[in-house]
């Protein structure tokens, strides 16, 4: 895997971006020159300077520091959603695929309904109903994401169910739970993990979009989408307020897409786009 990845310069770039981002998020407290929430009334909307390399916002907060802390927020959202939606979706998908029957039918109709919306619209509806906040963004996006994982895990489980070694295990007297946990689950996991990497960029973009629309994280949280919105009123004079957070989102999503493309190419060369 690593060797194949190394031959693909674009995927390597993606990997480098994501690694740098993770590192920045981890050491954010040491790297940030200022407290991301500290306002300085006398230094509002200052341009780029050695003291504030990316300028300050409308409350005099240092934009670089806020971006670094924002990386923590975006990555945390992406990871938690992937874990939450990935595990729930996989579990439901495997049970549906393995047992089939009426429950399978019912749950698949439920995924149909969830997939009948554009994702962002559904996330907006859920987030507004729960009350916009960082935690509810995670819940809202997870509720829109689990269906992809459920579909994927279900199709894997159906394929594995028919394999000879599962038949053999059954013949040797293994119970259904043992077959599920020892055979079906481990083998369904790898496509799910790939899918999770592919979804990361989309999750971050959806979270930022919710923040931008006022239906996600709320100020003063240094979430990138929220920061872009705050800067809208200061275009064109103080362009840096919303340009830099937007750039951060763009580079992050690009990084995940480059990496995801590379991983998919390696695992399934037919899909190479």
């Amino acid at each position: 895997m690593w060797r194949a990845l190394r031959r693909n310069p674009l995927s390597l770039t993606g990997l480098a971006i994501i690694s740098a981002l993770v590192l920045a998020a981890i050491v954010a407290p040491y790297l940030s020159p200022y407290d991301p929430l500290a306002t300085q009334p006398l230094r509002k909307l200052e341009g780029l300077s050695p003291a504030h390399p990316l300028g300050t916002d409308q409350l005099g907060r240092d934009i670089l520091s806020r971006l670094l802390y924002g990386a923590r927020i975006s990555l945390r959202i992406a990871v938690i959603v992937a874990l939450l939606a990935g595990s729930t979706g996989t579990l439901i998908g495997i049970l549906c695929g393995y047992f089939g029957g009426r429950i399978d039918n019912l749950l698949m109709r439920v995924t149909d309904i969830f997939m009948a919306f554009p994702q962002l619209i559904l996330a907006m509806a859920i987030s507004s109903a729960l009350g916009p906040s960082l935690e509810n963004v995670v819940i809202a996006i997870s509720l829109t994401e689990w269906t992809f994982f459920a579909r994927l895990a279900r199709s894997r489980a159906i394929a594995i169910r028919e394999e000879n070694y599962v038949e053999a295990a059954r013949a040797m007297g293994a119970g259904r739970w043992r077959i599920l946990s020892r055979h079906v689950l481990p083998l369904s996991l790898s496509p799910v993990i790939v899918q999770a990497t592919l979804e990361m960029g989309g999750i971050i973009r959806t979270a930022a979009s919710l923040g931008f629309l006022g239906l996600g994280a709320q100020p003063p949280t240094p979430e990138w989408g929220v920061m872009v919105t705050a800067g809208r009123n200061y275009l064109p004079g103080q362009w840096w307020v919303s340009t830099f957070p937007g750039l951060a989102i763009f580079i992050t999503v690009l990084g995940f897409n480059l990496l995801g493309d590379g991983i998919r190419d390696i695992l399934d060369p037919r899909l190479r786009g």
Binding site: L130, G131, L213, G214, R232, T243, L254, L258
Partner: protein, 335 residues
């Protein structure tokens, strides 16, 4: 074919019913209080009770649902809390602007997406290919709201080439409403000044909205064209001495269009999403902005109404895509 379409339409009704139920319960089983949001924190308790009774919020959830369902069957979507008008009327009012925007963006996406994809496939592995693949990747990763703001900064504030907000300048009267599409209406009324201005207003939002679509369509066109160009019959066509342009555009393109039509359907879903954001940036008086405001104000009749309309559009597009499949590939027959 007819029975297939009927089956799909029946299925669509079921899905819409499900969508309505999901959104209805999401928007009612909420910790946030819509009445408090409507009246503000300091409203007297009697007034709150009155408003609750008016919107049937004092009844059990189950009854509320049945009341809503019963009215829905009669074509009544309820009254919007924030605009005070029937939701159905509001949707009719706001929908044409979104339709106009999304159509313009779709045309741009498909046109430029296919051209870029073909160039990329024919010049596979060369500079043009790498450039167009890279730009496709950039397009997919670009957050719509950021692109919108950058374009606004460049073309409106700095260069002043294009107008920044709305469909017409404030000093220009709207042409009489016939279709609701401002470009068409101004042509019908013979108002060429309005037509020109409306087109200018349409350019930036449509380009922003089409960015993702161009990227998605060009990626799929490229890989699909590459597959088709390897087929035997393409060699045959070349061996017959046909010109290369003829081979690519007549023989290969039609067969390469099948996955492209699928992705166009998916792209349309993304357009509806994108229109929510684009309309917010460009103050475009469309469905996306109406829905966003409804979500922000917890205006639940408008929330349920607008999400249902969006789901309906989404489902209809998918149906059209599946039917166009059958047209493009006669091997597929639906039973």
């Amino acid at each position: 074919m007819i029975s297939y379409i009927l089956k799909r339409l029946a299925w669509m009704v079921f899905v819409l019913f499900g969508v309505m139920t999901v959104v209805f319960f999401i928007s009612r089983v909420i910790p946030a209080d819509p009445v408090a949001a409507m009246l503000g924190g300091q409203a007297p308790p009697e007034l709150i009770e009155q408003v609750r009774a008016k919107w049937n919020l004092d009844k059990p959830l189950y009854d509320q649902y049945l009341i809503y369902l019963w009215r829905l069957l009669q074509g009544d979507l309820g009254v919007s809390i924030s605009t005070g008008k029937p939701v159905a009327e509001d949707l009719l009012q706001f929908f044409p602007a979104t339709f106009e925007l999304a159509t313009a963006a779709t045309i741009l996406s498909i046109f430029f997406g296919i051209i870029l994809g073909i160039i990329s496939a024919v010049r596979s592995g060369r500079v043009m290919d790498h450039l167009s693949r890279l730009s496709a990747l950039l397009g997919i990763s670009m957050p719509v709201f950021w692109l919108g703001l950058l374009m606004l900064l460049l073309f409106y504030y700095l260069l002043g080439w294009l107008p920044g907000a709305g469909q017409l300048p404030y000093y220009m009267s709207r042409p009489p409403r016939v279709t609701g599409l401002i470009t068409i209406d101004s042509l019908i009324a013979g108002r060429f000044d309005a037509f020109q201005s409306a087109l200018k207003h349409l350019v930036m939002p449509a380009v922003v909205l089409s960015f993702f679509g161009i990227a998605a369509v060009s990626r799929i066109t490229r890989s699909s064209m590459l597959d088709v160009l390897r087929e035997e019959y393409i060699n045959t066509a070349r061996a017959k001495g046909l010109r290369e342009a003829n081979v690519v555009l007549k023989h290969a393109l039609k067969n390469a269009m099948l996955p492209v039509s699928t992705i166009s359907g998916i792209t349309y879903g993304r357009l509806l999403e994108g229109s929510v954001i684009t309309e917010t940036i460009f103050a475009w008086p469309g469905l996306g902005r109406y829905a966003t405001n409804a979500f922000l104000a917890l205006d639940f009749p408008a929330v349920v109404g607008s999400t249902m309309l969006i789901a309906l559009l989404y489902a209809l597009t998918n149906l059209v895509v599946d039917i166009s499949y059958a047209y493009l590939n006669p091997k597929i027959r639906y039973g």
